[in-house]
Every structure is written in structure tokens, then in C-alpha cells.
Symmetry: C3
Subunit: 275 residues, 3 copies
């Protein structure tokens, strides 16, 4: 395949804005509101539904499914399995965000249960989470990561091959790895994005929206992470120039998801390929 370009990624942004895909989220309580607002700002349509009685129907009308294990309980895992199976049967893209993988045995069991029910199209997490899912022991500390994304690269590539899924390791550098060996690196973003709860989870939600309009999940994931990264670094610069902080960052991120223009995106994008 030809290498990704800023033009091709921007085309995906425009496709989301135009097609307004319906993204079914089964996600954690902390970030539901922010993820919904991020999807709306981007131009997609969010729906949150978790009851075992309706997740199959909801996944049946959605254009993408996003699963996030941040605040689990047994009923939610069952519902995620049901929705995952429906989505896979329909050929719907599925994004899995293994929040806090490695933090507790229960989270690891939940991830194993989900992966046994079907591979996701994309798995996105920080280095600690990806290493944990890949079976490499690590001490996850809540939902943040003290491990550099670069250090999870080999495990992530092996995981991508094993799952047949795109694996995205987010961090100072975002790595996107395809089962066929493609590898994109993004060095946009700002550290303040880790000081607003739900930005990582929203990255997964946005990835779902991009996968709904772009069948190449590697490209879709790269577009989502690139877009959010550029939005985040522009927002951080604006907020800091105003003497404001991470509260305002939360709002500026949403503004940017709606308003970022092609020129800024293309001028700012720092995308590298390893083939």
C-alpha cells in the first residue's frame, strides 16, 4: 500500500464530518460524557447502551463499536461480549480500549474473555496496558502509564500479528502497528492531554468513528490519532498562552475537534513511516 499522507488522513476527517457515523460505546462511567462530546464535536453520532437486553440491537444499527473496560462489572463484560459478537458477525469495526490492563487480575480476565469472544479491529492503549495485554508483566498504576510507548513496540507488533488487529500504543509518540507490518509513528500532542480524564478513552471513541468511514483500519487509526494529536497540541498552546490550565484544556480540545482546519492539520502533522 502507498504510505499515508496528510492529504489522505484529512480526507478521512472530512468523511467522518460528512457521514456522521453512529458509534456505539460501551464505556466507563468516568468518560461517558466526555467521549460523547468528543464524538459530537468531531461530527460523529454517539450512542451509549450497556444493557444485555439491548446491546445486540444497538450494535446492529451502529457503524462502529467501542469497548472500554475502565469501570467494569460482570454484567458489563457480558454485554461487551454480546455486542462484540454482533459487531463481528456484521463486519462492523470494533475498537477495544483495555483501560488499566494489568492493574488487577479481574481486568486481565475481562480482557481474556473479550479477546476469546473475537478479535477487535483496533486495540488502543498506553504502553503499560499494551504490554499487559501482550502478556508481558508490568505494574500498571491506575490508568496512566509510566512506560514510554517506544518500549512497548516489540510486544505491540507481536500482539498485532497475533490478534490480526491494528494495535495503537499512545504516548509521547503514538505508534500504530498493522498485522501486515505497517508502522506509523506520530509525534504530535501535548503532555496536558494526560491531565484531562478521558482523552485517551476519547481517542478510542474517535478511532471507532474513523474506522466506520475508512475500511483500512491502520489508516483510520492513524487518522484519528493524528487528528486528536494536532488538536491537542494547538489547544495546549492556546490555553497556556492565555494563562489558563487543564480545565480550559478540556474545553479547548472539544472546540478543536470541531474546528481544526486542513491547513493547520497538514502544517502541524508529524507522521513517520517504518515499512
Amino acid at each position: 500500500m502507498p504510505p499515508l499522507t496528510a492529504d489522505s488522513l484529512w480526507a478521512d476527517v472530512l468523511a467522518v464530518r460528512q457521514q456522521q457515523p453512529l458509534v456505539h460505546n460501551i464505556t466507563n462511567f468516568v468518560v461517558m460524557n466526555y467521549s460523547a462530546n468528543a464524538l459530537l464535536a468531531l461530527g460523529a453520532a454517539p450512542v451509549m447502551a450497556h444493557a444485555r437486553e439491548e446491546v445486540r440491537d444497538m450494535a446492529g444499527i451502529a457503524h462502529a463499536l467501542v469497548l472500554n473496560i475502565g469501570t467494569l462489572s460482570p454484567e458489563w463484560i457480558e454485554a461487551m461480549v454480546m455486542a462484540l459478537q454482533t459487531a463481528r458477525a456484521r463486519g462492523l469495526p470494533v475498537v477495544l480500549d483495555p483501560v488499566g490492563a494489568g492493574a488487577t487480575p479481574y481486568r486481565n480476565q475481562a480482557i481474556a474473555q473479550l479477546l476469546a469472544a473475537g478479535s477487535p479491529t483496533v486495540l488502543r492503549g498506553n504502553a503499560s496496558e499494551v504490554l499487559s495485554v501482550a502478556g508481558v508483566q508490568s505494574a500498571t498504576r491506575g490508568v496512566d502509564s509510566a512506560i514510554a510507548s517506544d518500549d512497548a513496540l516489540h510486544a505491540a507488533q507481536a500482539l498485532a500479528s497475533h490478534l490480526g488487529a491494528v494495535v495503537c500504543v499512545s504516548g509521547a509518540t503514538d505508534h500504530i502497528l498493522a498485522p501486515d507490518g505497517r508502522h506509523a509513528r506520530l509525534s504530535n500532542g501535548h503532555v496536558w492531554m494526560t491531565r484531562v480524564t478521558g482523552v485517551g478513552c476519547s481517542a478510542s471513541a474517535l478511532t471507532g468513528a474513523f474506522c466506520a468511514v475508512q475500511a483500512d483500519a491502520f489508516r483510520a487509526t492513524t487518522a484519528a490519532m493524528a487528528y486528536l494529536g494536532v488538536v491537542g497540541e494547538v489547544a495546549a498552546e492556546q490555553v497556556r498562552a492565555q494563562g489558563r490550565g487543564v480545565g480550559q484544556m478540556q474545553i479547548a480540545l472539544l472546540d478543536g475537534l470541531q474546528l481544526l482546519d486542513a491547513q493547520t492539520f497538514k502544517a502541524r502533522l508529524r507522521l513517520h513511516h517504518d515499512e
Copy 2:
């Protein structure tokens, strides 16, 4: 009854600010925070409680009950039925927001179960949701609506008569329909209000607060929708003039709910009656 005037609706705003009614919400996870903040900004007092073990007691001390089915599960439906029965027995106003009605069979069953337990005082939804509740088939797509509110008018009037409840169909034009045939149309608001999650749900919560201080539910609902509509259009103008987006819109809406003054409200109000 005499037609509604800007003065009478504003009197209801002042009554909410002064009486600070306690509004018991059993609502969805996505919008709980925003609904609580909207009620606080307006001057009302929110309480969220959903356990079957306490909803009867909470509905027993509240001044209004708001039910919203956005993120259902069986225990929540049971709790809503209990709270609804308590509220009806106490003569408390009840607002029902049938979020996503028509999207899944489970939501339709839930609505049927709630309506069997007792009619709400007010049912508020978008055109798609109201058509679904009225038994007219439609393809709801998540929680937004591709159908114009005007197209739900006949079904909404029939539903109002059938339920003996005020029915509000929100959209570019908000229609408020009373069982006795009164019909108010509001053409305030701004399309960006649909790009912030929970604004529709907050409209239902605010309607609960207005019903707590104004016994004529038709007037109370019109006041709530008018107030929110004017707040929303002023907020959108300010936000756009600043070059900001839907993130800032979310905040400006809350500011406006607190600070909107009588002069702006009366000058901006676009209220029409059909009798």
C-alpha cells in the same frame, strides 16, 4: 385560558430561582453531571438516586421527578416504576424523556412498562422519539433525530390526548401540546445545542423544575423550553463571535442558565400559539 406571554413565562423563571425546587432525577450516565449542573445553574436543586431501596423515599421528599431512559438496565426500569408510582400518588409532576425510543425493542418495552405504571405529566423528546412512543414506526438513530419536529405534530397531539399529558416535541421548532388542545410553538435555540450531549436531557430536567413551581404543566413546559432556547441562541452567538466551538458552548449554556436577564429573554422570545 389566556395565551401565554413573555411576562408569564418569565415569572416562572423567577419562581424557580426563588423556590429552588428539589428535582429527583433517575437519568442516564452520560448526562447526569450536565443535568445536575444545568439545574444548579438555573437555581434548582438536583438529586440523583436510582436504587430500588431508596427511590420511593427520595421521590417522597422531592418537588418533581424526571425519568430518562438513556442508559437503561432492568433494575433501573424497576426503580423508575417505583418512583413514578410514588410521585403520582403524591401528585408530584413527572417528566419522562424517552431517549432513543424506537432504537431497540428493549427501549420500547421499557417505555410501555413506564406508561403502564402511570402517565407522566410531561413527555419530552425529539420527533423520532415522540413518533415512536406514539406507535408510529420510525428508525431512530441513537439519540438524535433526522425527522423535523413539525412532522410529529399530529402524532404528538394524539399522544397528548391519549396520555392526558403535555407532549413536547423539540427540534428547530419546539412544539408543546396540551391534552386540552393548547399548542405553543417556540422557534428559539441554535443547532449547536444538538452538538453538546445532554442538552435535550437537561431540557427535560429543567422542565421538571418549572413544573415544580407552576401547576399548569403546559405553561411550565413552555417556560422551560423558551428559557433554554433563548439561553442557547445567545450562547451560540457569543461562542461563535469568539471563534470558539461546541466545547465552549457547553459552558456558555450553563452560564446563560444562571445569568439570562428578563430584558434579553423577552426581546428574544419567539413564541406562537395555535388554539
Copy 3:
């Protein structure tokens, strides 16, 4: 012990920023997002987890535990008991926020069940809630309080002695009472802090973070309340000077939690001791 000083309290702020303690929250749905953002803004690391299957493990890796009963259900109470027992066994500080105590019998039972499982390190609530926990009858109205914090002082002191815990009664004046008779009064803050949902709950979450880095829970609680109080009054002044309202207040509070400097803190602090 020597009386608390602005310098000693500020040292605790710096310790939180430097040590970034992991705070495990089992809290209510309304405030989860805001509490997480408040902890992140402060410089701490939040994790929310409520499943009975993992709360023991999560409390086992955290530096503090915060329990908040705002939106209870039976499974959540069980999980809180489990986490509380684990935390106590580990010598971990535990903050209990008895939201809505006295509003329903169910909440009172839940509090009794939690206290039977182990005393918290700190109990923080408004006057109505503290009076209710202390066994003094009062009519709580949702989660706000119509009773002045001063009127709960005797009950709060008795409760502190009985529980062997620090009791904090928040209000126009914040009272912090230690089992050994120490009593600090803070008169910072602004009434708009009660118009943003979750500020009180965030006070409890922040108290958890301070207790994680400062073994004297009386000092830690005073530092948390002092910091939030100064942040709140500065934020309110800025927001009002801009002609903005409680929406913007919500954001300015988070900005302030991140950016407040030593000079402003020390100049603004209004701390009084009764010994």
C-alpha cells in the same frame, strides 16, 4: 503539636504535586468525571473501580481510598465495605463522604454498614450530613445543606471522638476537628462553589490525595480544604469579573487546582485555630 501554618499546608500541596499519589475512588456517577479531573489538576492520579471482583486489588495498590455514597446500590455498598477493609488492613487513609445522609433510610443504613466495617480516617460532609451521621435528626434536602456549619460543631466534635477520625464540616466556614481536640477553621471559598455539582465530592477526593502524602490526617484535611477554598474564591472573582457564571466557574476551579501559586495561597489563607 504546633499549630498549622500556611507554610506547612503549602508543603503538603507540593508533596501531592511531586508524589502524585494514586487515589482509588468509589464514588457517585454524577461527580466521577469532575472528581477525576480535580485530582488530575491537583497533580494526583485518580482511579475509579467499583466491582466487587476487583476493589480489594485496586485498594491494594492505591495510596488512598475515597468512598462517596451519592448514588448507591447494594453492590456498591458491598464493594465499599470490601475496599474499606482492605485499606484499613493496609493502613491506607480512607475518606468517607456521606452524601445525602439523612435524606433516606437507605443512606443511613449504608453509612451504618460502612462505619461498622471500619472507621474512616476522615469523614467530610456538610452540616446536615454530619449531623445525620452523628445521630442528630435533620431533614437533609438532597445533597445541599440549609444548616450552617457552625451549628454542627458540637455534634462533629463528638463524632470525631467516637470514630477516632478527623471530621470536616464544610460550609461558609469549614471546620476540621481531630479526635484529640484540635480544631481548625477556614473561611475561604465562595458560595458559587455550591452551584457546581461535585465540588464537595471533589473536596473529599482531594482530601484523599493529601492524606496519602501527609500522615497527620488533621493537617492533610486542613490543607486540602484550604487549598480548594482559596482556589474557589480566586476562581469566583475571576469569573465574575469576566461577566461569566457557574459554567465557567467549573472550569476555572480546575485551572486553579493546577496553577495556584504559593504567594496567592499564603496571602489569601484565612485559617484559625481553636485549641
